[in-house]
């Protein structure tokens, strides 16, 4: 016998029938240990998920939120209390049905990872998300894991950078053109004035003389017009972070239209009407930026009427908002108008209804940014098919 027994072994005082209860206890103990291990690994996984800086959701095939990470609940604290039954489109799309081009639906449908970029309005601000949706099979049921990376700031910076770059290029061009044109212009003006002085010495030939007088004064007035154009070009070429100074909005409007005249006259069927309040107070603002706002709004107005004709009415007026004195100007067109579904996206960067090559969708968003930086407001009224009116309010006092 390999294991020699002793009398104590045979009596077995310390041994008895090992029963169900002990077995149960041992199993319970084993289960408790396994449970602890599971809890721990679960907590680890949750910690890893919570460490993500992007919103992560797991949705079922009805797009109902099954799981979410900490960032999600930090952004949407109202959901923390009642986690059940929320759909992603209720939170991100503010809608009762899935959004158009939903990446989660596409991922489930194609059974592959789908990348997407979408803009959602959250708490009244537009946020730009890069979205990655990956189909999963969890416990035999189909799920989709979806990451939302907030790239709003990146996009804004990118837009500002693009705009700044564009303005800098325009500035360099304008400065060069101005320089090149100013010199011949000065010569033309000088010689025209010389001609005008010498004309008194010419006797007789009164008919010819009268013609010469008219021609030289036309040359001189056109020279001064050229000078104005050059000056205006230079004002646009100033750096973006320009100084603020006392600015006459009416003059801004006139200057801008002076530049846009050609553009407007090309569209022969468009009539421009001005209704300016001549007693408008100056405001404290950045002339070049405000001119840009006027250009953008006018260009949009003209584009909205392209091919159909009509009037563009530009008006200005004194006004008061929340007890603060200010001025406002309105650019009204009789174009195609703005459809309701587009209206809330109007001021988003890169939203455009123009054809490729005509615009990239930063005009109105730039206007919005500029007006906001002047503590002003920009608003729009539109009847689809009948036209649109953009009104800009600017306070008189310096911000």
């Amino acid at each position: 016998m390999r294991k020699i027994a002793s009398l104590e072994d045979l009596i077995g005082l310390d041994h008895g029938k090992i029963g169900h209860y002990e077995a149960l206890q041992m199993n319970m103990h084993r289960l408790e240990i396994i449970n602890d291990q599971l809890q721990q690994s679960r907590a680890e996984i949750q910690t890893i998920l919570d460490g993500l800086t992007d919103i992560m959701l797991v949705l079922n095939d009805q797009l109902e939120i099954i799981r979410a990470n900490r960032v999600f609940y930090t952004q949407f604290p109202e959901i923390e209390g009642q986690r059940e039954g929320w759909h992603c489109y209720q939170i991100f799309g503010n809608a009762d049905s899935p959004c158009e081009n939903c990446p989660a639906v596409a991922a489930l449908h194609t059974d592959s990872t789908v990348h997407s970029s979408q803009i959602h309005e959250i708490d009244g601000t537009f946020r730009h998300f890069d979205i990655i949706a990956t189909p999963l099979v969890l416990g035999g049921t189909r799920r989709v894991q979806i990451f939302y990376r907030d790239v709003t700031r990146d996009k804004q910076l990118q837009a500002k950078y693009t705009e700044a770059e564009k303005m800098a290029t325009v500035g360099v061009l304008a400065a060069g053109v101005a320089h090149e044109i100013n010199n011949p212009l000065a010569a033309i003006q000088g010689f025209a004035e010389g001609l005008k002085r010498r004309m008194g010495r010419i006797k007789g030939e009164e008919d010819v003389l009268a013609d010469f007088r008219e021609y030289t004064s036309t040359i001189l007035s056109e020279c001064s017009r050229c000078r104005n154009i050059v000056r205006n070009l230079l004002s646009f070429s100033r750096p973006v972070a320009a100084r603020r100074s006392s600015t006459d909005i009416n003059r801004c409007i006139r200057d801008t239209l002076f530049i846009l005249k050609n553009h407007i006259e090309e569209q022969c069927s468009i009539q421009l009407e001005l209704d300016l309040d001549e007693k408008l107070p100056n405001i404290h603002g950045d002339e070049s930026q405000l001119k840009q706002v006027i250009i953008n709004l006018c260009t949009n107005a003209i584009d909205a009427m392209s091919g159909m004709g009509g009037r563009v009415i530009i008006s200005s007026a004194r006004t008061k908002k929340n007890g603060t004195a200010g001025v406002e100007f309105t650019i009204r067109d009789e174009g195609c108008g703005i459809s309701p579904q587009h209206r809330e996206k109007l001021f988003e960067p890169f939203f455009t209804t123009k054809t490729v090559g005509k615009g990239v969708g930063i005009g109105l968003s730039t206007c919005y940014t500029i007006v906001a930086s002047h503590n002003g407001e920009i608003s729009v009224k539109s009847t689809p098919g009948k036209g649109a009116a953009f009104t800009v309010y600017l306070p008189v006092e310096a911000p």
Partner: protein, 382 residues
Amino acid sequence: MNITKFAIPEIIFGRGSFRHVAPCAQRLGARRILLVSEEGIEQAGWVDQLRQMLSAEGFEQAYYSNVSSNPRDFQIEEGARFYREQKADVILAIGGGSTLDTAKGIAIIASNGGKISDYEGANQVHNPLPPMLFITTTAGSGSDVSQFCIVTSVERQVKMAIISRTLIPNISIIDPLLLTTISRTQIIYSAVDAIAHAVEAYLSIISSPLTELHSLRAVDKILAALPQAAENKSLDAMEVLSSASLSAGIAFSNASLGSEHALAHSLGGHFDMPHGVVHPILLPAFMRYNLDFAEKKLARLGEVILNHRQGNDRETALAGIARLEEFFGTLGVSTRLRDEIPPEKRDLLKEVCQMAVNDACTLTNPRPTSAHELLTLCGEVW
């Protein structure tokens, strides 16, 4: 030994107690039962009856019947695999000592894993066993109430003793009606085995008043009932044998055995002879061998065997042993070793005796036993 221990299973005894098997299985939480039995019991029709009763109560069953006299290690390991494959939850065995020991072995492996030889010795089983419900069909093995399990190691040609309190079945059903189908030889061998259990447990150095009571009762009742039971299988006699054998089982499970059983295990393992065969040959010689070390106890046994005292302790003891020898002579079974072992294999006895001194049963023998003494005893009974 001042402190002793006495453990027995729940015992359901009596004619027709067999019918209680389904409620017993119910109480043990059975849903899918591993039924262990052997061909002889099948032929007697008991297995079919049992399965019908279980089916009627909605128990699923898996049936294992690879059982032989002197159960082998591989049969047990195969049975344990079967138990696990079948996802059984309770072990129900019906049969003699071999069947019940097979069931015990299966229970050990089923919940403890490994090989059966891993559990050889005392108290080596550490995990709880599946619930065991045993129905004995012989009167003698005592396996249906004991903490012993004897398994033959094929490789080592030895009987391994596995001793553990947890081997005591949960419920043991003893129905004398089941004994009516066994053969005369089986009745005799089982009964003599039971006498050997009773005598050796009585002489054991760890016997207690509780076990001694059962030992003496067993010897008395078996001597009284065996002749009639062997002759005509009278149900009354069978019932007496049944309860006497139960007493012997209770006694040896708690007091252990002695050197006679150690040698019987060793012989059985070596020559593959039925366990019951050797006791009529060995028991009287071993009683005499222990006389100097247990004179008072042997005298008390003599008094029970003779139904009276005959002179002093020693005289009474010797007279009792002589009467027992004489009784065995009347049963028509072998009383000399040469009747069972071919002469050319006599040389193997030395090895057999060497093996026997290592058996746990020698521990409780009143006289410390050496291999040499065992060989001498073998010579005396050759």
